[in-house]
């Protein structure tokens, strides 16, 4: 047993109940093969309609992958499967080598180190920006701790770092609901950063941003790649072009093509799907 694990246990987090949102060091993720996310043969159907049809996909550690595809291609359903919101009818989903995502709840998966940004920016509108980030901070997330937790200097430091990164320094005490759409997107990304995830799932992160903001987002994502793995779903091709090396095209719940953006854009099936016959 590695020494860090023992230490955590001694602090009393070793409860056997899987329902607890345990603080687990995400170095626990077994990355021995360099793959951080592995989906195999995932099928999800809603009343006969197959949202995902034997989808197989793998993401390398530290990779920045873009997923594109027309509406209804299964992008959001895929994210639901990874984050535990939807249980696949069949197939398997592994985080690293050993963690079976299909058997875990959303909070467990989040605690393992998968962060997710929604299509519609979802922040706590009636909390201040500071509180939003503070809640996201990687800490013990159990009730017991929350009852005695205090905002200490470490928390303040971490939050102000992130505020700087997402350029919301001046807005710390503002209600999140009063931010602009683009600022909310940034705040949500900032919350993901506070979580210190291994893998970030970002659903249309630049929708509603100004060109300037989009550019800065691209920079941010590129700076994150390497230490984190990122999966970005996006419609904005210019943005995709500016950040991704490898692009996966989904269609009707399956991988239609995969490769560099140039390569997939020239594939005849992709053109057909996007432009119609």
């Amino acid at each position: 047993m590695p020494p860090w694990f023992k230490k955590k246990q001694q602090r009393g987090f070793g409860s056997g109940d899987a329902g607890y949102a345990r603080l687990v060091d995400n170095s626990a993720v077994d990355l021995s093969h360099g793959v951080i996310l592995y989906l195999e043969d995932i099928t999800v159907s809603f009343d006969g309609f197959k949202a995902l049809d034997r989808l197989t996909l793998s993401i390398d550690d530290g990779e920045l992958r873009c997923i594109i595809g027309p509406n209804g291609a299964g992008k959001t359903t895929m994210m639901d499967c990874i984050t535990g919101k939807t249980r696949p009818d069949s197939g398997s989903a592994y985080f690293g080598q050993a963690m079976d995502l299909t058997r875990m709840t959303e909070p467990e998966i989040a605690a393992m180190g998968i962060g997710r940004k929604f299509q519609k920016p979802t922040v706590f509108e009636r909390h201040s920006v500071f509180e939003n980030l503070e809640l996201a901070l990687k800490r013990d997330k159990r009730v017991r701790y929350s009852l005695v937790a205090q905002v200490d200097d470490e928390v303040r430091d971490r939050v102000s770092d992130t505020l700087q990164r997402i350029r919301l320094e001046g807005e710390a005490e503002r209600m999140a609901g009063l931010l602009s759409h683009g600022q909310k997107q940034w705040l949500e990304i900032g919350m993901l950063l506070m979580q210190e995830p291994r893998l970030l799932l970002l659903d249309e992160p630049v929708a509603g941003m100004t060109d300037d903001e989009t550019e800065r987002t691209a920079e941010l994502f590129q700076s994150l790649a390497g230490q984190h793995s990122l999966v970005v779903v996006e419609h904005d091709m210019a943005f995709v072009a500016s950040i991704a090396s490898i692009v996966t095209v989904l269609h009707e719940g399956r991988v239609l093509a995969e490769g560099t953006l140039d390569k997939v854009q020239n594939e005849p099936q992709v053109i057909e799907v996007y432009l119609g016959r």
């Binding site: 009343d47 309609f49 949202a51 939807t86």
Partner: protein
Amino acid sequence: MMTKFLMLLMLLGGSLMAGATLDAALIHTLANGESDEKIRAIQDLGALATPEAVLVLKSLSDDALFVDGEHVFYLNGDQAIDAVTGLALTPIPESSDNVVINNRVRSELNTALSSLKLFDPKPSVRRKAAEALLNDVSPDMLPVLTKAVAQETDAGIRELLLLAVAQINLGSPEASLRLSAVQALENSSSPNARNLLTILLDPAHEPVEAVRRAAQASLKSVDNRLALSDALARIFSGISLGSILMLAALGLAITYGVMGVINMAHGELLMVGAYATYVTQGWFRLHWPQALEGYVLAAIPVAFLSAALVGVILERTVIRWLYGRPLETLLATWGLSLGLIQCARLMFGAQNVELTNPSWMSGRVALPWGLSLPWNRIDIILFSLFVLALVWVLMNKTRLGLFVRAVTQNRAMAGCMGVPTGLIDTVAFGLGAGIAGLGGVALSQISNVGPDMGQGYIVDSFMVVVLGGVGQLAGAVWAALGLGILSKFLEGWVGAVIAKIILLVFVIIFIQRRPQGLFALKGRFVDN
């Protein structure tokens, strides 16, 4: 034995005395005597069997025989007819009293009248009299019955009469008669026959073994038939309860299920429908009394429209401002329900109001295996099918239904396509309210109509809709039927209270297991 003799007399010589006046002393005993004396007078009059005597007995049975000092009279239209002379009394006596009879006298009177009825020209009257006899037949009626069997032309009624004769013959001293009676009773499904047969199982009562064995066999077949009819009756009562639950919940299935409005005033819309029925009845009484029987039918559109109107007003004034805020809607509509209750109380008084079942909703219909089902419940089941069909057609076969479904699925898109969403909301809510009003018509026929009546149905209605699955009309139907039948079987087993508690717990657990109800729509949009 007295009766037997008198019956014979009546049959043989009754008609000779037609037109004659009645014995004044007899009539006065009938009017003023003690119970025992009255019974004797009734028997005497029954024996006379003249039209005059029958009229007097009938008036007595309808509480329409009056006494005023020395005059005993009954009413015929506007005239008071002297019971003794058969002549009209002028002027009509002012202060008069009913001739009071108690149940014992009334029962005697019924026997006298029903024996007379066995010879009525109308088969339906004869059938009823024969059916009544099956449950209460006494040995001294044998001669009358034999005579009636001989005269009877209708095979069905004859069979009934023969069963009655067989019941009497079970007590016959001749073993062969008893045996054939026992065998005849194999086809009976009257509990009375069952009791009589049970007695024959006892060797102390029945010395002949063959008869005992036959009785055993007959008893078994009667028992089977009774058990079957018992089970069928229970299923029927479950379906009946289910249809009532469905009528109560169907309006909610539209307002809540389809539109997503948590309408806690739903029960009060039922109440509006019920009061509309009451008002219709009052109108008929006042303006069109000869058609009073049909008031329930006339109340259907009235109830629909008045409840729909109330619904539209609620939607326009309150509910429309709360779309998308379900918990606030819940509280506001609860407030509305309190207001509606108090309105009803101020308009109609705190007391329940009186609604008369029309004759086609009273009484019961006899079916094979001794099963007999009450008309009002049958009518309500049919009515619920009608309402269900109406809702189905409205929602699936009309433009209105199309618009409603479009608006509820994607308001913005529907608006873009030119659907007047605001108007559709109002109309749809009005429709749901109107359907609730129809439910109120049905409830008014089996239950109390009072200001608080709606409160009793709100929890049940929500249970049905939630159990069936929000947005699923078919789900609501199955849920209502299922809950109805389940509750009736549980009730027979553990009693009404525990049955209700079990059902509530069942629904709570069920929702925990399947939050989307019986007929869930699966998909991405469910949670959002």
